[in-house]
Subunit: 206 residues, 2 copies
DNA sequence: GTCTATAAATAGATAGAC
DNA sequence: GTCTATCTATTTATAGAC
């Protein structure tokens, strides 16, 4: 039996709270994907969620915590997807599948864009425990797969594993996807294929 | 004889004006590379240039025009570089050289990050004549080189030329470069080689 | 053209009623 | 816990002296 009904009455309110926080976080993801952290206003978030601004601040103490929660949420979803990728697949295919998943989230408009190198948000994230934990839950298995794929000869072994990992994070947020989407000339599947091919196959002919 | 001394007295002031505007635009480039358009404030720009804010507004009528001028400036520099690339090189090498140049500018901290897909800045840029002209002065030759490189079999012909062009723009601003730079583990040349290899060769082994 | 001083709007964040 | 109303700081932009 699932534990959707908790032993205490407290948990019902807790569930509603989590549901609302989920709605908030989802909204923040969309707004950060659209305009980025700096251009997003707390008023917009509140209006889009359909609640008042002070209610937001009961859930999250600051705008930056709001953003950190949103990015942690995306990373947690990614971590869940990573955990479900069948290890029977060859490691390169597993990496391919993860990037495809991330690119789909990007296409759907739910992937916050990366903060600038010296953005104040970066400082907040770099000490945010929940965000960092979610980041590691993705990075650790990916880095293992990268080493596997380099060992079996399917991934370019001249690239440091860390560089490959960073490249995958960068490609998940690839502006190429938005640019192609903006033309209106390609279907979502075509965009995914183009972006993945550009990343794994490279621009040079093979 | 060079025309550094102009026939009219007016042109001397004009030169000083251009020099100051050059300093402003250079500062804006650095700030936009660091923090992006939205997090950059006009006060910061004025302070960094060493002039008062109203003086800024004598040169540029709004913050968005400031940003457009900065991005147009980078594109003009890129256009000048493109015009100097020897056509004796094979087309793929020419594209390679241009991306390397852009990545160097990025590494130096002088390449504004791309605005978000629905950023208000995008709307301004899309109707800014100087910016659009500079953009075309880069895009037109690049697109020709892309078709050449596909025709001679060195560039993946399965990718639409437009997609390759967008990919090059995206890679010029590749966050991978900042991420590698942030580790402190790699020299600038190593970062350039890694970023260029990831773009042209792809992550897969060859 | 450059500055000091300031306007006008908007941002993040909170007080206090219910 | 949620809302109305508000505070404070900051931001873009300008008026007006020199």
């Amino acid at each position: 039996m699932m534990d959707t009904v908790a032993p205490t009455g407290l948990s019902f309110k807790a569930q509603m709270r989590r549901a609302r926080e989920g709605a908030i976080v989802g909204t923040v993801c969309r707004l950060m994907a659209d305009k980025g952290f700096d251009a997003m206003t707390v008023d917009e978030v509140a209006a889009a969620v359909g609640i008042a601004k002070p209610s937001l601040y009961k859930h999250f103490p600051s705008k930056e915590d709001l953003a950190a929660a949103a990015m942690a949420h995306v990373l947690q979803r990614a971590g869940e997807y990573v955990a479900e990728v069948p290890l029977s697949l060859p490691p390169l295919k597993r990496l391919h599948a993860v990037l495809r998943w991330a690119a789909q989230v990007h296409l759907a408009g739910d992937l916050p864009i990366l903060p600038g190198p010296r953005s104040p948000l970066r400082a907040t994230l770099s000490v945010h425990p929940v965000y960092l934990a979610a980041l590691r839950s993705v990075s650790a298995p990916l880095e293992g797969w990268i080493r596997e794929a380099q060992a079996d000869g399917s991934l370019n072994a001249a690239l440091p594993p860390q560089a490959v990992l960073y490249a995958l994070y960068a490609r998940a947020c690839d502006p190429l996807i938005s640019l192609l989407q903006g033309t209106g000339q390609y279907s979502d599947d075509e965009i995914l294929d183009l972006a993945l091919s550009a990343c794994f196959d490279g621009l040079r002919a093979r």
